[in-house]
Amino acid sequence: MTLYYLLYFFALPVNCIAMILVFIRIYKGPTVFDRIVALDLLITMGIGSIAIYSIITKQPLFLDVAMILALIGFLSTVAFSYYLEKRKDND
């Protein structure tokens, strides 16, 4: 029982606050690289909160979503950085 209290009132709110802080960085970020790093961090946090949520609802199927999210996060970061490196005019 304490386990659910821990997850509901500690782990999920902490993750939520962390996500809000990352959104502030996405809004402020001076360069486009800062925003990409923040988005990557956001995806990793999403994986963590999916893990918490799958424990709360006792649905291990959610872990599949986490796996796909990890793949997409990695591929999108690599694609973004490849594009920014090959771009002609770096502003």
Binding site: T2, L3, L6, L7, F10, A11, V14, N15, I17, A18, M19, L21, V22, I24, R25, T31, F33, D34, I36, V37, A38, D40, L41, T44, M45, I47, G48, A51, I52, S54, I55, P60, L63, D64, A66, M67, A70, L71, F74, T77, V78, F80, S81, Y82, L84, E85, N90
Partner: protein, 134 residues
Amino acid sequence: MTDVIFIILCTIGSLATLVAAIGVLRMPDFYTRLSVTVKASTIGSGLLLVSAALYFSVPDVTNRAVAIVLFLILTAPVAAHMIGRAAYMGRTKLWKESQLDELEGMYDEDHHLRSEQPKKGEQEEDEKKADPQP
């Protein structure tokens, strides 16, 4: 016993995630942000996934969670390396209190990275070869 391990893992995982977020908000320039963020978030999500694996303790779920953790550990440094390299080529500034930058001026025109600074004489010879008219 399992509950205690579970509680410890969940708490440390959430706090590591929070530290990563505060780090990305507070750090002064791009490279410090990058080098703080990637590992802390990997450790945070990894611990939460391991606690999920311990909670279900069914073989297929456990294997899946361990696979996700291994994938995160393998891919996070690669992604950090690629984005850091792109940022350096895009001339993102270092923090003004940075101590030393030995990478400065090491990339040549075609984005190849040298290991030594080219010597003065060789460079002038190269320029002469490229430009025959005096």
